[in-house]
Every structure is written in structure tokens, then in C-alpha cells.
Symmetry: C2
Subunit: 560 residues, 2 copies
């Protein structure tokens, strides 16, 4: 008898699982069920559809050669039967059937299965605030959401986005692009919490402001205001006028069906699976946004819903459901987004995450050009590399800037997966020619400095700590070792200028026992200055991590 495999949910993970199952077991009957009408769409493309970057929504549902992945495509090309507008309302594990309801007729029918794959996805989390049901308050997840948002995105409209995560910021860019007035409200004290550390997020926030987006951090929305349609967002005593509110505080896994069937829900609230993507029922698999996975650095279970992970898990679930053998080890928390002209992302753990997991860490901020500095089109990026003290193992990389950050993240993601140390990363044989990188790639430079910090040769101090010293009136010298021209153009208030080339001759201008913190544009010269001061017997010389390019506070600019 033919094996029957039922897959619930027809987006990234489900569509992949169904296709893969058929390929592994060509005689199996595969049924792919979805409660929506649109299937197999690239949900990650939705912000770009809203901004008109992608013009036709069909492009999100097409193969790279332009064939729409519809019922006919799945039947003829993939040999998979698709049922849309059909909701699975219960699983009878004893009888091995699912109960389906036709969304139009409400008629219920049963479908037997030998193997079941849950790819039920996630739903935007709706915060517990007043009036969330007002008109023009929406989320961004489905094609229907996107079309509604697009219809409301009229130039001049005042939009307020609740949540400064990946989706919130991608939506902010999309709406700003359409000519709206945009504010982003985030409860935490920075944008992209969980993705970037504070000082890296500050660079993204700067970009948002430069693009005319109002950035409100540390702001918890207490309610929405309006009669029929939303008119304002209430944040404590402050009221922000808004014609349109996008709720983007995150997503929650759709686990009702699994919970109803008695399957184990993991510590993250998502469906628990093993490395074969198998749930606690050996005939039921789960993949994509509805299930949790393992973080390969911490070993802990995590819920990090991403299209890239969904595809990999769908593959594994499909193979195993069809009788094959495959495993998915887990993730390291890589994510990336574009925020206007800036690219920002991370892989592995941030400093905050690493510390929260009990790691003792050393970090470095390393700004430089993404190509040879003399090559036209070279753009700045800043890397923050985090390593474990003692072992020197790289725990994470964050990268922000106008240049190619994705390349450095992918190399670091690979290095982290294999437990690479700063020493090993500094020796990587990366692809070098002037159109692609400097002779010493940004990642290698960062790893080199981090190695020196781990060994105690380089003593860095963060810009945030320097700012605190100023604010608290500490007795120290912030030493600008750039050229007079650089110093005059833009600087940090309170810094003393001695260009690096003059430092050896002007040592007597500096007190030997005071804390001296040197900096330059990116702090390679800052580090050189520390070494010169060390060699001259200064007791407490340091450099400021990342130099002026990583200084997230106000700058003194020339008044030309």
C-alpha cells in the first residue's frame, strides 16, 4: 500500500518537506494543506513588496524562472496534492487521521496519514494593550497583511511601528520609502535587542534618524487611542499621533494543534523536536517557525524563526517522514537586515548574550573599509567580534555599515560552527583582490586585535565607558592621535591632540601616571599609541575601541 504523508502548512518549511518527501519516496501520496489561499510565498520579501521594491506579489510566489508555485505547479512538477483554504482542526494520533475544515463551507472531513509533518508556522504576537482592535492597526506576516498595509501606505500618513526588531525596522524602511512619516517605538533601551549590542545598535539608530525616522527607545506602549480607527499611540504620558500602527513585537509559534494532540511543547513555547525533526510522536515531524531548535554554542533550546532555517528543517522533516534518514544539528543565531543604506547583522552570541550565558568574554570594535581603501566604492563597516577568554574561541560577530557585512558574517558563522579561535580566524585564507577586500580582510584585522587583547598586549576601552568617564568627571586624558586636519574637521569634545607621528617627540606633554586613552579614526593608530606609551614607561595607557567611527555620541564638528 502507498504511504500517505500529510503536511500541514504550505510555506517555506511545509512546501520543502512535501517536495522532498515525494522525491525520496516517489510512490507516496503527499497532501499539503494550508488554511490560507496563498501558498509557498517568500514571507521575508513582504517588506520589499510593501515598498514597491518588488512590484508584483506573484514574484514572491514564483520559482527563479518565473513559474508560480500554485496547486498546478505542486501537482505537476512536484507530484504533491495541495489543499488551500483548509484548516486542520485536530489530530487523532491513535486513529492516525487529521480532521480538516473547509474554510468556505465549514464542512469537516477526515484524512488518514502514515506520517504527519507540522509546518504550522508562527503568528505575530499581539501585545496586551488597550484598543489593539482599532482599524488601521495591523501586523506584517501574510500576503493579505502586505496588501492591506500597501493600500494604507499613502504619502504623508503618520505610521507608528511598535517593535524595533528585524520586521519592525524592515517595515520602517518600506513605509519611509513610500513617503510616510515613520516612528519606531521600542520598549528596550536600543533597537534590534537580541541582534546587536547597544553600541552597534546605536549605529543603526543613527541611520534611521538620518533617514528621517523617529527613534523611540525605552518606550513601552501602554495603549492605542482612537474611535473607529487608530489616532495615536500612548506611551505613558506621551501620546504619539498615528494614522497607522504596525505591531511588530515578535512572533509566537503556532502550537495549538500540536498541544491539542498531546505533543510535547518545549521550554521556548515551540514544538519540541529531536535532531531528526521528530516530535514526541514517532510518526509526527515538525519544521519551520512552529518548532524550536538547538543553539550550537550554548546547547540550549531556542526559538529563532527564519526562512533559511525553515528550509533546512523542512528538508530534514520531509526526508525522515518519507522513510529516509537526515538530521538538522541546530543554529547559531545568524540574522541580517538592511536598514536603508546600512546593512546590519550578527552571528553567534552578542556580548550581552554571551555574558548572560556565563561566558567570560573579550571583545573588539574594528571599523574599516569593505574593499581596498583606494578602490572606488569602498565603504565603511564596523565589526564587533566577541571571544571567550581563556580559550580564545570566537563566540560571535556583529557587523554594521554601508559596505559588505554579509560576507564577514558568513565567514564568521562558518568559523564559529567549527569552534574556531581568534588565532585561527586571523590566519584564514580569505579571497583577496582590491575589489573585494583589503589585503588583511576586516575579519582578519578584527581577529588580530582581539588576539592581542586576549593576550593582554592591547588594552581597549569602549566608547560608552569613555563617555561615562567624561560624564562622571573622571581624571583621565582622551588622546586624539589623528592628524591636525582630521582633528579639526570632527572630534570628541575634551580630547587632546598629539598626532601619532609626533607622539614619540612629545611624550613629556603627557603625565606618566594618569590614565591615557588614545584614539584615532578606527583606533589602529590608537593601539599604536598605546604601544608607544607602554614602551616609554607610561603606566596606564589604553586605546578606545573602534575609534571615532564607533563613537555613538555627539561629535564636535568644524563650523565651516
Amino acid at each position: 500500500m502507498k504511504m500517505s504523508i500529510v503536511v500541514i502548512g504550505a510555506n517555506a518549511a511545509g512546501a520543502k518537506a512535501a517536495s522532498k518527501a515525494k522525491r525520496i519516496n516517489p510512490t507516496a501520496e503527499i497532501t499539503l494543506i494550508d488554511r490560507g489561499t496563498f501558498i509557498s510565498y517568500g514571507a521575508c520579501g513582504i517588506p520589499y513588496f510593501v515598498s514597491d521594491t518588488v512590484e508584483d506579489v506573484k514574484e514572491l510566489m514564483s520559482t527563479p524562472v518565473g513559474v508560480v508555485r500554485d496547486h498546478q505547479f505542486f501537482r505537476k512538477v512536484k507530484g504533491v496534492t495541495v489543499k488551500t483554504a483548509t484548516e486542520v482542526i485536530a489530530i487523532d494520533r491513535a486513529a492516525k487521521t487529521v480532521c480538516m475544515r473547509d474554510c468556505q463551507t465549514s464542512r469537516e472531513t477526515k484524512l488518514p496519514y502514515d506520517r504527519l509533518v507540522l509546518a504550522t508556522g508562527s503568528t505575530p504576537f499581539i501585545p496586551q494593550i488597550s484598543n489593539v482592535n482599532l482599524a488601521n492597526v495591523l501586523t506584517v506576516k501574510s500576503i493579505e497583511d502586505a496588501e492591506l498595509l500597501k493600500s494604507l501606505a499613502v504619502p504623508g500618513t503618520r505610521a507608528c511601528i511598535v517593535g524595533g526588531g528585524l520586521i519592525g525596522l524592515e517595515t520602517a524602511e518600506a513605509l519611509r520609502h513610500k513617503g510616510l512619516q515613520v516612528a519606531v517605538v521600542e520598549m528596550r533601551d536600543q533597537m534590534l535587542p537580541g541582534v546587536l549590542d547597544w553600541e552597534m545598535a546605536a549605529l543603526v539608530e543613527k541611520q534611521l534618524r538620518q533617514q528621517g525616522v523617529t527613534v523611540m527607545t525605552g518606550s513601552a506602549v501602554t495603549g492605542l487611542v482612537g474611535d473607529a480607527a487608530v489616532e495615536a499611540v500612548q506611551i505613558g504620558d506621551v501620546r504619539i499621533p498615528a494614522d497607522l500602527v504596525v505591531l511588530a513585537p515578535g512572533v509566537a509559534p503556532n502550537v495549538e494543534l500540536a498541544r491539542g494532540a498531546g505533543l510535547e511543547i518545549g521550554p521556548t513555547g515551540a514544538i519540541a523536536v529531536d535532531t531528526r525533526q521528530c516530535t514526541t510522536d514517532p510518526d509526527i515531524y515538525a519544521c519551520g517557525d512552529c518548532c524550536e531548535t538547538t543553539h550550537l554554542i550554548t546547547g540550549k533550546k531556542v526559538f529563532i524563526p527564519l526562512g533559511s532555517t525553515a528550509n533546512k528543517q523542512g528538508r530534514v522533516a520531509g526526508i525522515n517522514a518519507a522513510g529516509g534518514e537526515a538530521t538538522f544539528a541546530g543554529v547559531i543565531g545568524t540574522s541580517i537586515l538592511r536598514v536603508f543604506a546600512v546593512n546590519a547583522g550578527k552571528t553567534g552570541l552578542t556580548e550581552a548574550e554571551a555574558k548572560a550565558h556565563g561566558f567570560e568574554v573579550e571583545t573588539v570594535l574594528s571599523p574599516s573599509h569593505d574593499k581596498a581603501h583606494f578602490f572606488p566604492g569602498a565603504k565603511p563597516i564596523i565589526l564587533k567580534l566577541v571571544a571567550e577568554r581563556g580559550t580564545g574561541r570566537i563566540l560571535g560577530l556583529q557587523a554594521v555599515g554601508e559596505g559588505a557585512v554579509d560576507k564577514r558574517l558568513d565567514a564568521a558563522a562558518t568559523a564559529i560552527t567549527f569552534g574556531a579561535t581568534a588565532e585561527q580566524v586571523a590566519q584564514l585564507d580569505l579571497a583577496y583582490a582590491p575589489p573585494y577586500s583589503a589585503a588583511m580582510d576586516n575579519l582578519i584585522v578584527a581577529a588580530d586585535i582581539l588576539k592581542n587583547k586576549l593576550a593582554g598586549h592591547a588594552r581597549g576601552i569602549t566608547p560608552r565607558e569613555v563617555k561615562r568617564k567624561f560624564d562622571e568627571g573622571d581624571d583621565f586624558i582622551l588622546l586624539d592621535v589623528r592628524s591636525p586636519a582630521e582633528h579639526n574637521a570632527v572630534g570628541i569634545e575634551g580630547a587632546k591632540l598629539i598626532p601619532l607621528g609626533m607622539l614619540r617627540e612629545k611624550l613629556e606633554e603627557l603625565p606618566r601616571d594618569k590614565e591615557i586613552i588614545a584614539f584615532c579614526k578606527i583606533s589602529l593608530r590608537g593601539y599604536e599609541a598605546q604601544k608607544i606609551l607602554d614602551a616609554a614607561g607610561f603606566r596606564n595607557a589604553k586605546f578606545m575601541d573602534g575609534g571615532i567611527l564607533a563613537w555613538p555620541f555627539a561629535l564636535r564638528t568644524s563650523d565651516k
Copy 2:
């Protein structure tokens, strides 16, 4: 007493070694000696200076903030004494002195050293052909070369480049950019031998022709023709008129000084060093283009001179010379270049190299977009991934295309360094969002297919083998499973059309025992077709690797 460290050669490796030595040992006296007048320049930038992409030659000799790395810079900033126009003509290892000759006065002096670092670089290899000393026959290595070439690069001039390697092709682009007529002559049967396999090089050759460059492979230059200045290049019976000849058949390490001092020269002809960059004299180190290194995959000694490697080795030589402790493990043969609109590179071993080293390999050609296919600006790239049979270990990646190949090379270089298998690469948590990649990154897709090939599920055949079958009149069917619209627009002569969506219904049109080779645009549908045919009981179904995008031969195009 202060330690005296003498560094011979003041470019990438030597400049790095000198600076690093001073930083490690601030009391040491460091002397950096070069026979040239320009020091610490980015030789890799020379083609871009020739093409006017980089306008001022000073940019190649400057730090990222625009400070020229001259005598004063090294003295004041780095604490290093520089002697230019000074040639070291002998090393007296017993007395621990070097004998220097002033290039202007020819006066000879001795300089004692405690530690010596050789960074003598390489020199363009001059082929043994007649009349290489004619005027307007030059090499591209030094700033002086570049300035001469630039002065001769007048629009309309007929330039012939001898050697289709990295420097030859970069120079071809530069000269074409300046409006010259350009021909590249290569002895081997493909461009970029040692960098790309034949079918990947064919894609680069196609780009060269599209840009108006004459490509001559399998052409050994037998001599140059002319009276005072060169007038033609002789290739057997063929004479190519040329007003300008650039010799770029490779470079040879400068080892005369080392050999004269009795230091060991390795099997590659470059200076032998250990992982500390130490030569056979414990007080003499070597780094950069003059020394060999270890290939981390084969374990063999190799001579692969590159600016990226020179910097890393210079660092290690400088630290060790100054009394520190550092090692450089080796390289995996990564290289990259831009050829007009196309980026091309490799890391690890090519298929040809792997086979030459005795590896049994499986390979895949995988074309796809470098970003989400619906994202504006997504461009095609083709990956060729090479793995070892049995272990599944990735041995190499080649990548060619208009899109971001460097990112995939860097991730693969990292994976290869850590011995990753195709299975592990297919699970990497790479950075995904539509502006950066598809949900399944090109590298992951390629690794997935390779896994299937290693497991025997996917049976690929190369375009070159298909062409051979046609040429030899083999009895087989080349099955185009694309849409009729795609098929009509461009195709392969002799192919039969059955769109993938019709294949399950039209199986009776195909003979069950004949060899059937399916293909599509990139051969993902080709692979699906193989699986459908397998499932239907066909005995000898395969797919053509890389699809029509990897077909390097003539195509049938619609006559619109």
C-alpha cells in the same frame, strides 16, 4: 644592548614585519631596506592604477586615512628606519652582517644584525623567447612598470598579453578600459589554469570575448618580432600584430640572496621556512613572495605569492624576529579576480588539482542568483563545489559570475580550513535576508546537491561530456525540461523538449532503456526530472550539471 633587526624588502611582507617587530620589541632598532624608491605600495592595485580606476599612484602608498607610508611615516609613526635605493648584495651569516650597496653611488657598507628578515619578493618570470628585450615589451610588477604601461596605453594601440593568469587578465581589463585593442595569449587550453577548471574558465573566456578581448588559448608564444620596438607576437606560424606586449606568465621568487647565504631553497624554488617563518638559519626569517608555504589540504609545499598571505607571514616573521612567538600554518590556495563585469575565484583545490593529488572526487555545478531571485539587482553566479568521495569532505569551491562570488568563497575557505563535509556545509547558519541571498544560499544548495551525488541519489554529467556525446554520435536523449517559452528563446541544438510539469504525463514518449540526460536553466528541474524518471523505472536517467547556464558551447537562439 639594543637588538638590531634588519628587514630586506619594504613592501607588504617586509613593511608589516618591521612594524610588528618594533611593536613587540620597542627598544629594538629596526632597519627596513629596499632597492627600489617606492616602498610599502599595494602592488595588487597596479592594474587599477593603469586603468585610471585609481587616479593617483599615491593612493596605493597611503594608509586608509591618506597618509603616505614614506620614510618619515615609518620613522615617526612606526619607529622604523627606512633605507631606499639600497640593495643588499650579500649576507655574512657568520659575522651576522649584511653588505649593502647604494644604488646611486654604488658605495658598499656593512650593517650588523641580530635578526634578519628576508622579504625580497618576486620578479615577473621572463619566458625564453626571442627578442624579449625589444622596446614596448614590459612586465607589470612595480610602480615604475605601471607608469610606463600607462604612458603607452593610448587608445587604439594593439596590446598583446602573454599569459592568461590573474595578472594577465587584470591587465587585459585595464588596457581594454583605456581603449586599447587587447589580445590575451595563453599556452594552456584555458584561461586561469590553476585557478579554475576548464568549464569554469570557459565562462570567464566568454566574458573576455563579450568585452572585445581576443582570447587565444593553447597558443605558445615562440618569439617576438620587431626592430627597435615590438611589432608582433609570433605563435608558431601565426603572427599577431602588437604595438605593446605585456609579459605575464607568472612570477619567480627572489631567492638569490638567500641562496648565496647558503639558506635552504625548498622544492618549489622559493625559500624554505618553518611554521615560524624561520629559514634554516635560526636568526633569519623570510616572508611574502620570496618564500614557500604549506598547502593545508595536500600538506605539500606551494609557492602562491599573494598580498594577503604576505601580510600574515610578515606579521609572524616580525613577531618571531623580535623575540615573540607566532606561527603561520599555511594556505588553501584561495584567489579571486575581477574580469570586467564578472567575478571569478577559487578556494581549496580545483577538480583537476584534486585529481592530480590522487583524490577521488565528486563535483557539482550549481548556478543561481546571488540574492533572493525576486530582489532587484540579483545577479547570477555559478558555483563548482568539489568533494572527496567516501568522506564527503569539501576540497574546493570555484565561483564565477556577475554576482557576489567572494562571499561564497570566503565561507567555503573557512569551511575547508576546518575540514567540513558537504553535509556540514549544507547546514551552515548563513546570514539570510532577501538583499543578501536566497533562503537557501547558493553554497548550501550546491552542498545539498553534492550530498545527493555523493549518496548516489543524483547522477550528474558535465556539459563537456554531453558535448562529447553529441560530437561522437552517441545514442542518447538530451531532454530539455524547461518551459516552451524558455526552450524557444535559447536552447541546445539536438535537445528534446518535455516541460517538467508535463513529464509525468508524457513518459511514454521516452524510451526506457536509452540514456536520458535532463537539463533546465540551472538543472534543479533537471535533477527533479531524473528523480521522476527513476521513479517511473527508467534505467539510465541523469541530469546535466549546471543546466544551460553552465553550457560553455554554442547555443541555439531564437531568430527574432
